[in-house]
Symmetry: C2
DNA sequence: TGAACATATGAACAACTATTCATATGTTTA
DNA sequence: TAAACATATGAATAGTTGTTCATATGTTCA
């Protein structure tokens, strides 16, 4: 009747585990953080965001710049808008998109720093 | 013989498109940026990174803290290591993981800022 | 040397997601 | 009002990825 428990059930360094558990963030908070990064985790969307960080653009021009179909761009803009990373304004037939927030640019810049360094 | 070209082929604002195209980053660079964010785009990995930002941990303790199986943690650590976000050192049977870089903490902090604000 | 243990890994499966294609919506203008 | 055009969207498909299960690797210690 010995404890044959595997690693999964046994803590090796009790003190440290306790300390880390205390400082652990809420499940929910880390989940929405992951969701935020999911949006950045696609090169099409990154291209779109980068382009928009240069200038406001309409969907049509955006499609040209990032070399995607209008439909694909539109689908992705929807995702970006839901994540509150871009906003849009309509002027007649044309809809213009731009970054919603300065964080977007910061996040991209910080990421590039890491990428270029490694 | 009119130009019936669709949006996909026609540029609406020539000046702006030219300007944005000039400032567009390399395909490759934006691709590795997206790849970097892919690593952050999963709540299991975010949990692991957050835990490691508190303290160096062995795989076993990490599994306890983030409530995952040892195998799942190990698979994810592999991903994190390949992305150079964590490093490891071995001490006997036990392998300790820690953040490889201060960028990791910065990126998480910046993301949280955005998440909490919106 | 062999048993016990911490970690790593390959294969398989399930879940998710980006694009395409077809078409709908909404706006302008002839 | 009808045609032309910019954008949006639903369904289907193909590709990607995280977890599990089983097992392998590497280390210590009796």
């Amino acid at each position: 009747m010995k404890k044959i428990e595997q690693c999964d059930n046994v803590v090796i360094h009790e003190e440290i585990v306790k300390k880390v558990e205390e400082q652990m963030k809420d499940e929910e908070e880390l989940l929405s953080l992951a969701d935020l990064y999911k949006v950045f985790a696609d090169s099409s969307r990154i291209k779109i965001l980068w382009a928009l960080s240069v200038s406001e653009l309409c969907v049509c021009d955006l499609a040209v710049v990032v070399k995607m179909t209008q439909s694909a761009v539109s689908h992705q803009l929807r995702v970006l808008k839901q994540a509150k990373l871009v906003k849009s304004r309509r002027d007649g037939k044309v809809v213009y998109y731009s970054l919603d927030d300065d964080h977007v640019h910061q996040i991209i810049a910080l990421g590039l720093e890491h990428v270029l360094e490694k």
